[in-house]
Subunit: 341 residues, 2 copies
DNA sequence: AGAACTAACGCAATCGATTGCTAAAAGTTC
DNA sequence: GAACTTTTAGCAATCGATTGCGTTAGTTCT
């Protein structure tokens, strides 16, 4: 049968070992460690003490198998829309940090899962592997349909993203349309007339921000300029060529709405390097309000998303869903932070 | 015995179900899915296809229990030295992102574990819970002794941190002393004479950077100024009061070495708000070279740590240790990036 | 044809913890 | 002291996958 697997010297302690030491059965140890009142307090204390001094901790694989619960939340970053393999956008990183804080704060573990170029059944595979009790998805990427399909049969799922049509999964996010509209209106109010939009279509949130941008133009009686649109990715490296291409196209513009702060900062740098001045000649507004925005030169005007609240809300909703409740999606109203651009 | 646990309708598929469908035993299904050549190719394909169409995926809890392997790496962020509960420093976040990329790139899962105000036995508990096959610790925090104790009996462990005395665990990091020395020498070469150090003692990396700073002063024949030292934390919120206190103390200084970029940027802002000019009056140098450094105003001069290489090295070493090999620690030579401060 | 092999696959034990049922021990009541 | 209740704790099944050993059927050789 099975051979001695690993652990050469330092014996793996199991519950049976503690049971033997305490002179009771494993049932009793299990109940004692779980604080079950059918074991007298004195015995419970004695067993707990024994476990502590011997450094015994319950084996989580065995526990998860038996209980069909893992005490773990899966944190998933789908990168279907990005060629780049790395998690580099500070917004995503900060989101991961905050969600991890919220989850560990509730005593759960975090299983971090980056998914690049997903296969059709990737979500189901994650669910079926039974490694987590619930899933948080950071960004819809281009996986809207996969999420819809999953949501029909899998309840404990909350997605950070935009409010797009035909959405059947529970979502938390900002009102992207309103945010972009706000930003665009601000530039128009400053007298800008030819405003470019930087962002790679594909991710719903970018599409929605573009939608808000177009709305604001329309409301101001301005017609959108198809040539003033650059497919900037969400990484510094890939955004720069797009901005440069826009400059080189010879198109004239006096404002830029970027789909993210990272793109905005890249735009500022590229524009400045090309001899344009920000904000005198060209005004730039970002989206997210990552910490970088406050420190860029000049400080970036941007649309603020409240990540702290967003993360807390996501985790709240997820735990309610794990308990079987139904939950409504939540979209927060973003806020324009006017700084120097 | 055990009641119907969860899953009301959508049946949990198990290997036995696939076995029944295929008209074979679970042994055969297990071997087929594992690609075991003792099962004929045709049958293997047929079983795999059956599993795919029915959306069957191996239950990882059961697999881990049986194999005594979890196919998971634990990523641990100890926050013993910070009052703050949140993972906010961009350096840590970027480190998490890069490590996660490296680990998932090798087909392993990432279990993210933030540990605040650790109890004495926290590390052993994590190990004994058998949730991961190896541990990566991001930063020594104030847990040097705990790490030493663990390393004596637990092999698959790699720590990001500084090269401190009596260290028995495998470590990857920068030569913090050399980095800080370089930065300080640079400021001295620029004619700065009264250079302050900002950083909270407690974390070894900060101590080492302070050591390098003192070395450079000594080498230049300058005596250190005890009053020019502020215990800045690693978050924006807590670093600012320290800087302000330094300013308010009335001490004169013409240079600042910060223990991290976040502290440096905070210092610049606080100094500027107090009417001092950077770098004319006061020169500021940071440590880490996070992306923010490049975009701050003015762009931050800083000591660059190569995170990409660091993360890759850590994961490489860890996997070698998991396979039973012994490994040497690695300390990279940091590089001074001269920008505008 | 019979012996000697090999290929294919099933049996059943195992990983470690949980828990419904039940039995023994202890305590109450009349 | 009998009958009954309550307390305490063990038995054994269970979660789902893996794998050493053994069995059956099929080949090859003498």
């Amino acid at each position: 049968m099975s051979r001695q697997p690993t652990e050469p010297k330092s014996a793996r302690l199991k519950m049976a070992d503690i049971a033997k030491l305490a002179g009771v059965s494993t049932s009793t140890v299990s109940r004692a460690l779980a604080g079950n009142p059918s074991i007298p307090q004195a015995l419970r204390d004695q067993i707990s003490e024994l476990a502590r001094t011997h450094g015994y901790v319950i084996n989580q694989s065995a526990r998860s198998l038996r209980l069909q619960r893992t005490h773990t939340i899966g944190l998933i970053v789908p990168l279907g829309h990005e060629r780049d393999q790395l998690i580099t956008d500070p917004f995503f990183l900060e989101m991961i940090g905050r969600l991890a804080d919220e989850i560990t704060g509730r005593g759960y573990e975090v299983l971090l899962n980056k998914v690049v170029a997903p296969r059709a059944d990737w979500l189901r595979r994650i669910v079926q592997s039974h490694r987590s009790d619930g899933l948080l998805i950071i960004g819809q990427s281009d996986q809207h349909e996969a999420l819809n399909a999953l949501a029909d049969t899998y309840r404990p799922l909350v997605v950070w993203g935009g409010d797009i049509a035909e959405r059947r999964y529970c979502t938390v996010g900002s009102d992207n349309v309103a945010g972009a509209r706000l930003a665009t209106q601000h530039m128009i109010a400053q007298g800008r007339r030819r405003i470019a939009f930087l962002g790679l279509p594909g991710a719903p949130e970018v599409e929605l921000r573009r939608e808000g941008y177009l709305q604001a133009l329309r409301e101001a009686g301005l017609s959108p300029y198809p040539e003033l649109s650059a497919p900037a990715h969400f990484t510094i490296e890939s955004a720069e060529p797009s901005v440069r291409a826009l400059i080189d196209s010879g198109a004239t513009f006096d404002g830029v709405l970027a789909a993210s702060d990272l793109i905005a900062v890249t735009a500022i740098n590229t524009l400045t390097a090309a001899g344009r001045t920000v904000p005198d000649e060209i005004s730039v507004v970002g989206f997210d309000d990552i910490s970088l925005a406050r420190y860029s030169a000049p400080p970036l005007t941007t649309v603020r998303q409240d990540l702290a609240t967003g993360a807390r809300t996501m985790v709240d909703l997820l735990f309610r869903r794990i308990e079987g409740a139904s939950t409504e999606s939540v979209f927060m109203t973003p806020e324009l932070v006017v700084r120097g651009t």
